[in-house]
């Protein structure tokens, strides 16, 4: 074992270096190219410029898309979290079709993105609802975030000590009071974390959105249209902006989530 350690350590270092290069060289390349003063996207690197960032935001479409994405994310996360919370609480009671709940719940995760997209396009088309941000994209986003919100909330709902609730009920509190005064304060951090998680999912959703958004744009749709319609030199700058926006949204969500799970379930936060 000791004799084998140093070649093993060497191989390990090489493997990790290759692995992380695979993941980070493309990101760094995009970052470098976003400052390249060249009319074609690519190498060689000429001189540094920030003009592409100016062009990326100049027409206001990116900003409009960003506003759309944030609005859509907030509304769909709110509806999705509310539905998931209600479902997670409801699932604690005795029910006839309990076994069928989870398969139905996870169906939107399992269905391929394009299938969901065209299924909803057909659905809206045949029902005569015109596509756009509201309500078609909102509906698709709520269905998309709902399973994840449920899977995040459900264990938390079950996680806390049910004897507290029972004590409240024994003391004569009505179910509504028990929920508002006991249950909700306990799960509030989890609900907030779930909301943010749902927001990030909605913010980054592309394929499903693409088929039902009509002529409007969210951030990923905007990038997709730029990439497929014209390979413009400012594309890397748009990519970097979107990457940073998504990253900060995800980071906020993640840190709220870890804090929430650290508070609620210390054991789950370790590992």
């Amino acid at each position: 074992m000791t004799a084998a350690r140093s070649p093993w350590a060497f191989a390990r270092t090489v493997y990790l270096a290759a692995f992380f290069s695979f993941f980070y060289v493309p990101i760094l390349t995009l970052f470098v190219l976003s400052f390249n003063d060249s009319p074609v996207m690519g190498f060689p690197f000429k001189t540094a410029t920030t003009q592409w960032y100016g062009e990326a935001v100049s027409d206001g479409v990116l900003l409009r898309a960003l506003i759309n994405s944030v609005q859509l994310g907030l509304v769909s996360a709110a509806i999705g979290t509310a539905l998931a919370l209600s479902a997670a609480i409801g699932l604690r009671y005795r029910l006839p079709f309990k076994k069928g709940v989870i398969p139905l719940m996870v169906l939107p995760i399992i269905l391929p993105g394009v299938v969901t997209g065209v299924v909803m396009l057909v659905f809206f088309g045949l029902s005569g609802v015109s596509t756009g941000l509201w309500p078609t994209t909102l509906i698709v986003h709520v269905s998309w975030v709902l399973p994840f919100a449920f899977l995040t909330l459900y264990p938390r709902i079950h996680g806390f000590d049910q004897t507290i609730e029972e004590a409240a009920m024994d003391l004569g509190a009505r179910p509504t009071t028990v929920f508002l005064r006991i249950v909700f304060p306990l799960i509030r951090p989890a609900v907030l974390a779930t909301f943010l998680f749902a927001f990030t999912l909605s913010f980054d959703e592309f394929v499903r959105t693409f088929f039902v958004i009509g002529s409007q744009r969210t951030v990923p749709v905007h990038l997709w249209i730029l990439v497929t319609e014209q390979v413009a030199p400012f594309l890397p700058a748009v990519g970097v902006i979107i990457m940073l926006a998504t990253l900060s949204v995800a980071a906020v969500g993640f840190f709220t989530m870890t804090r929430a799970s650290a508070g609620r379930a210390p054991r789950a936060a370790q590992q």
Partner: protein, 310 residues
Amino acid sequence: MLLEYYSTYRNTRKLPFVAGQSAPQRRASRGGWLLAPAMAWLFLFTIVPVAMMLVLSFWTSTAYGIKAEFTLDNYRTIFGEPVYLSTFARTLRIAAVTTALTLVVAYPVALIVSRARGGWKAIALLFIFLPFWTSYVVRSFLWLPMLGRNGLINFLLIKLGIVTRPVDWLIYNEGAVYVGLVYAYMLFMFLPIYQSLDKQDRKLEEAASDLGATPARTFWRVILPLSLPGVFSGCTMVFMFACGAYVTPQLLGGASSLMASNVIGSQFQISNNWALGSALSITLMVIVLFCFMLGSSRLGLLQVLSGSRR
């Protein structure tokens, strides 16, 4: 982005009914109606639309609109015309190869990271997650300035004197799709494997080595078998996602390496043949659901989604 998903993974492992127990249910069933809004939503916006598409797949699209007469023609087209059959064959092949490649890339990293010391482990995990926090479309688009004619690799090849002119075979083929898909789905393979490796009792390895097993033998007989649920879960997820890949093959694959999702998309956006597109969607959906059921029949539905669990 997916680090939250990771927490979801971990949490679902604790779901009471996953472990075969039921939650304390001494209360009356009055609260069950709280499930109704979510169920109604999913029924109305998932089941009903899929059912509509199923019906549509047996109709015909004409230049004047959809003709509502039962026909099997769309499915005959799919299973009779080489272009569609080969698309599905290619989709399954790409998904299978992607799954294998992702496994080969992710397993050693999961093993190394799971055996790393505290601080290094946290740093490694952070840097593995970080790329997946960036936008999904950006992650696929990233490979254009890497593999393209003016891309980094061509630039380096020329600089190093290996080639004199940019080569074209780096992009717009199946190889580029593999690169993009491994890049896009690696985390779904890494997570369940990492989890199953991380929670193994290290005493087992010590015991094996005390009993005279070489490190290789310990790996094959102890570590690997115990990590198989994670491998299985990761493979199911990646295969399932790769079957439905749209963005990566559209951006990086050429006309000859388009996958089922791209063909479906074009039926709705270019050819405007909704009936055939519906039949293609139903076919892809059946394939993916079948794979998922195959995977979940061994591990259980939530275990596949939630990673390994023993």
